[in-house]
Amino acid sequence: MPHMPRRPPPLSLDMPGAGESRRTFLVRGLAGGALLVLGSAGWLLTRKTRLPPEAFGSLRVFSPEEAAVLAAIAERLVPERPGFPRPGVLRLASRMDEVAAMAHPATQVELRRLVRLFESALGGLLLDGQARVFTTSTPAQQDRRLGSWAQSRLPLRRTGYRALKRLVYASYYAAPETWAAIGYAGPPLEIPAAGGGGR
């Protein structure tokens, strides 16, 4: 079992699957390329983004438009249900911004690109047949877009979906305000956040 030379790692966010025909791979490659180009197109993709009435406060990573997209995603990931605080009430977009601020600057760039791509009407048209930005779509349309990313044949979109889902749910359920809804009584010991001299 000799040591194989290092394989060149696959392109960022892309991952060829096993056992696919050349044709599907090519199709996917093209779509993947389109995704990256779209994601790089910058402000154009969020030009029509609907901003919520409330301000987001000072954001460190995301633009207000990008924060609005994340807030809209959170509204659908955690739809209204008795006992579950609304993401807006928790100012979840700001919390997500704080989480993103801990990431490497290059990861922040990727994340912003992902959010803009998810929002974009052109991306929606190409990928889901929906030529609307996410934030102005109906809840049913929004759920369809989320579902199509979640279950996409393109690994790149599934990766993107997982990143968004992780960001929303980690931020939401880290908030003690959500714990009553899920019957979690919290930790048995209270330690103040500034406790000790650690870190």
């Binding site: 194989m4 696959p10 690994p155 599934r158 990766t159 749910y169 809804a181 010991l189 870190r199």
Partner: protein, 518 residues
């Protein structure tokens, strides 16, 4: 400076001017490998300087909150994952390394693994007998003992009872705790200091013998002259922001010990231009984990109580051509659960609202034993970030699928009303007939949540220089004064939780490193 300062941990806040120290040994990393090495060498009179990228968090200093603990105590602020996000990577980053946040499960290296290493990698010295005194020594220091029966929480009880009803092997595990109150927050560092982690044992031992430890000290470069390492360059990080303060710490050692773990040690070597013909950062093994959750009539409260106290190795060896798996339990704190569960919207809320009634069990694939397995790779992106790739081979997918089926049966045997996979479209299992649904499910990257809490390989030890990064004595190949002492030297995965193996391996290796310090 090394001679004049009292023994204590120096944090990034304390480093107000550039530091330049000589040492007999510089140890990079203070987890199980680095802490034991520092203590053993300091005990022999060596001047030891330890550089640790993570912070120093004494017991009771970290709130039992996922929002604080994960960013503060885990690699990449809790966001480490494979490049395709298919596997979430749980790995500690603190004084004490992953031993400060793991679930305290303590196993010796299985005999069959040592046999495989001797036969396949020429590690002839790795016999059960040779390692026994080292396991015994670290087990005594870490106070490793079997979890008493009344310390098994309801979540682990599901595995214990379910496996028993199926006629499968299972046992209570040994843990490195003393005075454990079964709070259930091991993953957020023990608030009462009951865990006998590296920071509570070998780190204080090392300091008492005069070793110096710099926390918040990120090593950025290893400097060489010819085949000798001459300098280790670290930047001090602000403990509050984790950003560089601009102060540098330079250590000029006679001998270098790399103990940054199976991802950061290969990354540091690559960053320093050392890839040993492309071998550094290859053959990374992760014990890829699939989980299944069960919902019960009664409360389980899987977030309370010792997170792991039962293990089943019934399927650890599944015959030629098969990847084995072992089964354990996992805690279900809200963030961990919410990011793992499948679906979104009402369906996700439905699953989350049942959290107190949920049991969570995991199947860990024993990767790295098939001749066809290459494992994963650690590489560097052009922007300096570490990149981890782990293309899951068909044999590991098969093990994860069969592991999920076994877990479903355990849950059902223990009385779960319904069992869910962590697929984005959760597979729902209510009886034995339903288990076959898992055969029809899609086992592909990004279609279900997968994890790794055990990182191994990347700097494999071995007798053949063509196939290894370190010698059987853990010397870095092609260099005169460097050793690698952490999980990265393991040539395969272990089939058991790795911390005790790494503690014992370091205890054993101290003899070899001490001989190199003249």
């Amino acid at each position: 400076m090394a001679e004049s300062q009292p023994a204590r941990i120096v944090t990034g806040r304390d480093v107000t001017t550039d530091v330049d120290v000589r040492a007999d040994v510089c140890v990079v990393g203070s987890g199980p490998g680095g802490a034991v090495m520092a203590a053993r060498l300091a005990d022999r009179g060596a001047r030891v300087v330890v550089l640790e990228e993570g912070g120093f968090h004494p017991p009771g200093s970290v709130p039992l909150s996922e929002a604080v603990a994960y960013p503060r105590l885990y690699q990449e602020h809790g966001q480490r994952a494979t490049s395709d996000l298919a596997l979430t990577i749980l790995q500690g980053r603190a004084v004490g390394g992953s031993s400060t946040v793991n679930w305290t499960t303590s196993f010796r290296t299985p005999d069959r693994v040592l046999t495989h290493w001797r036969e396949r990698y020429g590690l002839v010295g790795f016999t059960t007998e040779a390692l026994l005194p080292h396991f015994m020594a670290v087990e005594e220091r870490l106070e490793v003992h079997e979890q008493p029966e009344d310390g098994v929480n309801a979540n682990n009880r599901v595995l214990y009872d379910g496996a028993e009803r199926l006629g499968w092997d299972r046992a209570r595990t040994r843990r490195n705790v003393q005075g454990c109150q079964s709070l259930g927050y091991c993953g957020m560092s023990c608030p009462i200091g009951a865990r006998r982690s590296a920071d509570q044992t070998y780190v204080p031992d090392a300091l008492a013998r005069g070793a110096q430890l710099y926390a918040n000290a990120r090593v950025v470069k290893l400097v060489r002259e010819g085949h000798r390492f001459t300098e280790v360059v670290a930047e001090a990080l602000d403990p509050a922001t984790d950003q560089p303060t601009g102060r540098m710490i330079r250590v000029r050692p006679k001998v270098l010990v790399l103990s940054g773990g199976a991802i950061n040690t290969p990354a540091l070597l690559l960053r320093s231009g050392i890839d040993l013909a492309g071998k550094v950062g290859t053959r990374t093994f992760l014990h890829p984990v699939a989980a299944m959750i069960g919902r019960h009539r009664q409360r389980i409260e899987g977030y309370y109580g010792a997170p792991q106290s039962v293990s089943s190795h019934h399927f650890a060896e599944r015959g030629p051509g098969k990847v084995g798996f072992f089964m354990e339990a996992a805690p279900v704190h809200p963030v961990l659960a919410a990011t793992a569960l499948g679906g979104f919207g009402a369906r996700h809320e439905e699953l989350m609202s049942a959290l107190p009634y949920v049991s969570a069990l995991i199947a860990l694939a024993v990767d790295g034993f098939l001749p066809s397995e290459d494992g994963g790779t650690v590489s560097l992106r052009s922007d300096g970030r570490v990149r981890i790739d782990y293309p899951i081979p068909p044999e590991v997918w098969e093990a994860l699928r069969e592991g999920a089926k076994a877990l479903a049966r355990v849950h059902l045997a223990a009385g779960a009303e319904v069992v869910h996979s962590l697929h984005e479209e959760p597979i729902e299992i209510r009886n034995e007939m339903d288990v076959a649904k898992l055969d029809r499910a899609r086992w592909e990257p990004g279609r279900l949540a997968l994890f790794t809490a055990h990182q191994m390989g990347g700097c494999a030890m071995g007798a053949d220089p063509e196939r290894s990064v370190t010698t059987p004595e853990l010397r870095l190949q092609a260099h005169e004064n460097a050793f690698v002492v952490d999980g990265s030297v393991l040539p395969t995965s272990l089939g058991v939780n790795p911390q005790l193996t790494i503690f014992a391996l370091a205890h054993w290796a101290a003899e070899h490193v001490a001989a190199a310090v003249r």
